[in-house]
Symmetry: none
Subunit: 197 residues, 4 copies
DNA sequence: CATGAATGAGCCTTCATTCAT
DNA sequence: AATGAATGAAGGCTCATTCAT
């Protein structure tokens, strides 16, 4: 019989461990991060980490996969047949860029997994599947925009990949994070990729 | 007194070790790659790796820094005040993209270092310095193009960063490498970032 | 929160490890003794040794320095202005020789450190400081004895060094340990060094 | 066919290697001294050391045993039935002490072997055999002196062991070596052990 | 003969995991 | 449930030895 109070405490601790783990995995990578480091940063005993998450591998899995769900939902949240394509695309890009910037620590981690997909095949597959859905949705948007003649010609797949690459590429470059006004400018510039007239 | 024959042989072995190391570091990351793995792949005794490169850390340094020099030289090899900016930029982008694609294994490694710059501060500083020079040269090109009114308005720094980010971002995406015709298309699309009229 | 029972158990194990380490270091020297040997002799996992003492170097330090404190206290425990100098000196020597004999394993270790002082500078400095205090105390005793004309002439420093050298020299010779009656005889003989009339 | 010139050169090199080895073994001990260190100090290629002396163990054996022969001969060179025992003993002790002091590096090495006899059983046996002969000769001297009533009573074995221990003990203490006048004083003091009247 | 490139056995150390409290 | 003492697998590195030149 576990009281709500205790359960609440547990959840808080678990969240603290997860946050610490994400930060350390992002900064140092999988192997260079020790369970003891994580426990210390989360201010729990290191046995506790094992109790909550099982093995280190499972913890890493959770670190990468769990925050990805809400993120991808946000990223996919745009209208694929808006009235004004330029306006919708601009809004989408701005949203994306600010999202990426807000989650920079997590994205540093994500970039590692993507950059070493052979090392994390299971996790990568999961990530990739979802990212492909985002890609599909982008293609849909582009195709519609081109059909409506609000966007200039160009292979939609190429545009979608280029755009996603630009987003992740900006993550790589964002040493010390960009100030807000620069983010705005990146957004404005990225629109060009879509062939907005 | 070392004969030329022996020296030649050594050079060959050294190159073989380096190639193996780059491939394994790129695929698995620094920690997950063992000296034994490298030696095995290079078909030498693992003591030999130590004899050639000292420590694992030094080997990694060499793996990242040594191939970077010729690469960055190639990347910086474009005319900053051409007659036709659109043509020069298109040629440059095509060159860049094909270079990146040809060196995909090495670039996977490079992306790791950039993505975890806190973990490899010395190497990153070296890389970053050179990359900044490339960025400066790009800015020069863009400023000139804008002055000549062959390129539309836009903050040159933002454009340069966006472009470099796109290049590295494409590296991240290039799982299993793109076919040649897709590379051409990426090049064509990337031009848009520069505001070519 | 560690229970007393656990803490007790740990102390016992720690003592067992230390004893094993002293014996093996004494017999084989620092480098020739492996952490695995020590763990095996102490009947613990070899990770445990590291948990308790950190590194091999720290363990060695503890092995040499920790038992030295009580020993030197005992060695310095004599009266520097007794009524009868011959009697006090005889008692002191007997005590010293029996102490050395009782701690023969530890002293074999100590002799190594002294004999290779360049190799163990920090430990040696610590040992040397204390030994010098013993030497000073011996000199005090001798000077007093000479002033009281109970001891014959002779440079006190020379006598003190000779005596200490004799003690350590006997350690070197004591292969398989001397029987008790021989120890008595050594004590009787060593008195001569002090110029007892 | 090896010319004398070449043979001479070899002998010189060999001697240089041996000297370097003794110095390094004495300072750092057997394991902590590497073949490469020795080769470097002797200014020869490290393959050469192996060519000359075979294995490291054989080299160590040579380092300890070879210089011992002439040393022990010198140490045993005293008259066991002199006219004046006090004079003979004084001369002997002075000779011994100056010999020990002159060969301090080698003796540091010797002390290691004696102090860790279990580790070097073969070498120790050899050393011990010869040292016992010295001890026997000392006993002979003492017995004769006592019979002639030039030396006071006392178990000759005890005296001999004490004296040899003192000699080796002084080696241990001689950090930075004693000045000549102190050596004289040690000699004068050591005479007391023999019960010179 | 003299050399040093090549090698792999063996060691210290780190660290994920287990389990008793 | 939470903890950390205990453990041993695994990796980097050192270094004696071998052997081709």
């Amino acid at each position: 019989m576990v009281s709500d109070k205790v359960a609440r405490k547990m959840e808080l601790k678990k969240a603290r461990v997860l946050e610490a783990a994400i930060a350390l995995f992002a900064e140092n990578g999988y192997e260079a991060t020790t369970m003891a480091d994580i426990a210390k940063k989360a201010e729990v005993g290191f046995g506790t980490v094992a109790t909550y998450f099982g093995s280190k591998e499972e913890l890493f899995y959770t670190c990468v996969v769990q925050p990805f769900q809400p993120l991808i939902v946000e990223l996919k949240d745009f209208n694929v047949s808006p009235t004004s394509y330029p306006k919708e695309i601009e809004a989408m890009i701005r949203k994306h860029i600010f999202l990426f910037n807000a989650q920079d620590v997590y994205l540093q981690l994500l970039v590692q997994v993507i950059g070493q997909y052979e090392k994390f095949p299971v996790i990568f597959a999961e990530i990739n599947k979802q990212t492909n859905e985002l890609q599909q949705r982008l293609i849909e948007l582009i195709v519609n925009g081109q059909n409506e003649q609000q966007l200039s010609e160009g292979e939609p797949l190429i545009i979608a990949i280029s755009y996603i690459s630009l987003l992740f590429g900006l993550c790589l470059s964002s040493v010390g994070n960009f100030p807000k006004d620069m983010l705005e400018q990146f957004a404005t510039r990225a629109i060009y990729l879509f062939g907005v007239k």
